[in-house]
């Protein structure tokens, strides 16, 4: 008896989903965020989801799935039904997985929808270390190699960001001690305690500590100065051509119908170009880098090429 009910109900549910393909979207869209609620990536996604209201007919629900540096969420979306109702909110960390042999796929396993938000990233230093610019960093490291250390999540975003910066600034990693530690806040606390010299972190996380005089900015790895720390100069201003922001790209599973991706991309771009949205993002040290379609694919390709180059140059990876 119960089984028949179950079967009929199941069949009814199935027929509902097949009908739904007619007008996309006709039910709420899930945006899977691979990081825990309250963290920087999550805040970025939630701010943007609020921006999307009014640009898309349906609600966009944030669904946090954490674990294994995002891999759990990535696999979840990669293997999901390609109907455009389950999307991934990821940054370059996903591509770093492939480049270092931690995972076996990168952005090409997905259908990129749009890149919208970029979170400014920077390198900061313990305020007592006397390092407050690229020049002082170079000088200190050259005069006392091995005395300074840097905290990074090995083979993760912070590691690549720092390597990109150090490579272009011409500072050898052999002169710095690399300490494996994950989490922006963990690194900041260690720097305040005086155990850590250099802290790569999102600007939003570091800004309050810069204002309180605990950290001093070395370089912001963006093309423009950050809204929150307008005194901190970018790497480019100091003659170092390093740009390494956290680009949040929305991905759909591979083989998602083209018109669905187009609809989504249009809404995403419209929301990103909304000026009130841009204001709110700037408040959280984020900027809008809107791209979709071929432009986006080219961006992703270029970013991945750089990641692979760095991984090869510094022999990252477990194999």
């Amino acid at each position: 008896m119960n089984k028949t009910i179950a079967l009929t109900l199941g069949a009814a549910a199935m027929s509902l989903t097949t009908v739904s393909a007619l007008a996309f979207p006709d039910k709420p869209i899930e945006l899977v965020v691979p990081f825990s609620p309250g963290g920087g990536s999550d805040v970025a996604a939630r701010v943007f989801a609020q921006c999307l209201e009014g640009h898309i007919d349906q609600q966009v629900l944030i669904r946090n799935i954490t674990g294994a540096r995002g891999k759990i969420a990535e696999v979840e979306v990669r293997d999901a039904r390609p109907d455009g109702y389950k999307l991934l909110w990821a940054h370059q960390g996903m591509d770093m997985g492939l480049a270092t042999g931690r995972s076996d796929y990168n952005y090409t396993a997905f259908e990129p929808v749009a890149s919208t938000v970029a979170m400014n990233y920077g390198v900061f230093a313990d305020a007592n270390s006397g390092i407050d610019s690229v020049d002082t960093l170079r000088g200190k490291v050259a005069s006392d190699p091995g005395a300074y250390n840097i905290g990074v999540a090995l083979n993760g975003f912070s590691h690549f960001a720092v390597l990109d910066f150090l490579d272009k600034a011409g500072i050898s990693t052999d002169d710095l001690q690399t300490i494996p530690m994950s989490g922006d806040k963990t690194r900041i606390v260690a720097a305040i305690q005086g155990n850590l010299t250099l802290v790569p972190t999102a600007v939003a996380a570091a800004a309050p500590y810069v204002n309180s005089g605990d950290l001093s900015p070395v370089a912001i790895l963006s093309d423009e100065r950050d809204h929150k720390l307008s005194d901190a100069s970018t790497a480019a201003e100091q003659g170092v051509d390093s740009e390494f922001a956290m680009y949040f790209t929305t991905y759909a599973p591979a083989n998602t119908p083209e018109d669905v991706v187009d609809t989504l991309a249009k809404s995403w771009l419209a929301a990103a170009k909304d000026s009130s949205c841009q204001g709110r993002l700037a408040q959280n040290s984020m900027s809008v880098v809107a791209a979709s379609g071929e432009e986006l694919t080219a961006d992703l390709e270029a970013r991945y090429a750089r990641i692979e180059e760095l991984a090869g140059q510094y022999q990252l990876g477990t194999e």
């Binding site: 119960n2 494996p180 022999q315």
Partner: protein, 152 residues
């Protein structure tokens, strides 16, 4: 109980040895200052040490008469109702992914109440139904009110 203690220690040591074989396969990363193997090796070493100590302690100690025997303790473990419940719950978890959460929950809740009940009376059928509907309603309201992504 002694047999139980010995079996437990033996299984415990075995698991840690398996873990040890896996850990030794970890490769070292050149850029790391502290090996990712150090802590696992400490844990596994300590674990095996504990297992061996406990085993020796059990072998040396005199058996106590007041402890329940090996057979009784396992007989109790496989009591009929306990196994029914465990089986039903396992089936339920598997069913969630296939027939959906709401259907699976309704069936599981209803059936479990009846299976666990000492004897089935018409009244208990009604109560079982009421509990099932109430539970589903609670979960649905809670999650619809909170607007949350749901089970597959």
């Amino acid at each position: 109980m002694r047999v139980n203690d010995l079996l437990f220690s033996l299984l415990f040591i075995l698991l840690f040895v398996v873990a040890a074989t896996q850990i030794t396969q970890l490769s070292e990363i050149a850029s790391a200052t502290v090996s990712a193997r150090l802590f696992p090796e400490m844990v596994i070493g300590g674990g095996i040490l504990m297992g061996v100590i406990e085993m020796i302690r059990t072998l040396v100690s005199r058996p106590r008469n007041d402890d329940p025997g090996f057979r009784e303790s396992w007989k109790e473990a496989f009591l009929r109702r306990r196994m029914y419940l465990l089986g039903l719950f396992t089936v339920y978890l598997i069913a969630i992914t296939h027939v959906g959460f709401l259907v699976a929950t309704a069936v599981f809740c209803f059936v479990t109440i009846l299976v666990l009940a000492p004897r089935i009376k018409p009244a208990s059928l009604v109560i079982a139904l009421a509990v099932t509907v109430g539970l589903l309603g609670l979960i649905y309201v809670l999650l619809v009110v909170y607007l949350k992504a749901f089970l597959p």
